[in-house]
């Protein structure tokens, strides 16, 4: 299990039978690192100016589901590239589309999204992270 102490990462009590894979998100400045072991997500380091913040990045399945719902709402062709990085606005989603997408996500994941949270969603990744946050709070 990865843990964060100050600015260094110590991998304590990690079983030798696991082989962690380092997944780097493609951003211009390296802002987050996630560890994925056997498909389970682990805490993520996000380097915000001045401090380290630990939060959890969404599972690929969640991101994929969001992509699917977004593509359907915006009537994008199946082969169009939609990833975690994709911005709703750049895909052509207006405020009504965004609200419809959030509604679709609420129904699929069994969650309830506050209006101000919904408005702060800019990318597919934002939506996926929010979903998992809400799902985790539910359980």
């Amino acid at each position: 299990m990865a843990s964060v102490i100050g600015t260094s990462v110590s991998m304590s009590s990690l079983s030798s039978s696991f082989k962690p894979s380092l997944v780097l998100t493609s951003r211009t400045n390296l802002k987050s690192i996630s560890f994925s072991i056997n498909g389970k997500r682990f805490p993520v380091l996000r380097s915000l100016p001045g401090r380290l913040q630990v939060s959890c990045a969404a599972k690929p399945e969640t991101v994929n589901k969001v992509c699917e719902i977004v593509k359907k709402q915006l009537a994008l062709p199946d082969n169009s590239t939609v990833t975690g990085e994709s911005k709703f606005a750049a895909l052509g989603a207006d405020s009504l589309d965004t609200v419809e997408i959030v509604m679709g996500l609420e129904e699929h994941f069994g969650i309830s999204v506050e209006e101000d949270s919904a408005q702060s969603i800019a990318t597919v990744q934002d939506a996926a992270d929010l979903i998992e946050d809400l799902v985790a709070k539910k359980t």
């Binding site: 169009s80 911005k87 750049a90 052509g92 609200v99 419809e100 509604m103 101000d116 408005q119």
Partner: protein
Amino acid sequence: MNIHCLQRAFSSASSSLVPLQLPSPMDTHFWYVLPEEVKSASLVNEYLGLLSPCERDNVLSMRGDQLKKSALLARVLVRTTIARYTNFQVDPKSLKFTKNRYGKPGVDWQTEDGWLPPSLHFNISHTSSLIACGVTVDSPIGIDVEEKSRRLNNHILAFARRYFSSCELEHLTVISDPEIQRQEFMKLWTLKEAYVKALGRGFSAAPFKTFTIRFKAPTRGNCLSTDKATEASEIIVESFGDPKNLTSNWQFALVELAGSHYAAICIERAKTIEGGNFSVPMKLTVRRTIPFVEDESVSENSVVAIGGQLCINDHIH
């Protein structure tokens, strides 16, 4: 930069923007552009030249030509529209914009000695097929446009149950004709959007569920101009938890544009009106434009009042 340089800069464009007088208080000027009417590649290049580097990057990041075009036209419409009201003092390219702490855009006037910038408020809205900009003086404004024919992916009542107030849900539920129900939904949506955008405090300041927009039977309004007045229903907003006198500060108009779009406009009433019952209709002037190419005052058939007390002006002075 002296005024003669600016005038030369203006006339180097294919045709200059005619300077206009500011709207008077309670006047709303509403400009719109139809992307399908912008066809020339050289015009599109000229438009791109008006944008800031940041705006240009944003336009180019849009997925597909149609989205790029409407993003471009939105910026062009805002810049050229505002420039019209500065009496040649500011050219569209040099305008700078800022956002309030809730993200509502405003002009960041670069003032030179002795020049007082106009007290303009503006708000933009766009669909892929129509881009609009509303302008007022001394009154916050919010607008929203939607295609009349737009369909929801979700069921209308399920959507209204989730996002609209219970009064609005009830209003929609009793409509048996699905097409009329859909149209009433779109009217409510645009009005609610326009209201929140006029408030300018972000969506969390007025979540859609916490206020009701409804149509009230017309009260005897007093139209101050000889132009066509409407006896349409008054549109009012009621907010839970807010004292009634705050929400009665806002005035709405709903029009149908070019037979294809709903446009909702929300402005703050002038504060000088005394007594609660007297209401001054909104004076609305609608212009279709292709910036630098043509401006057209729209015919009676192109702008049809649906709701709100308003007078539709024939011309801008």
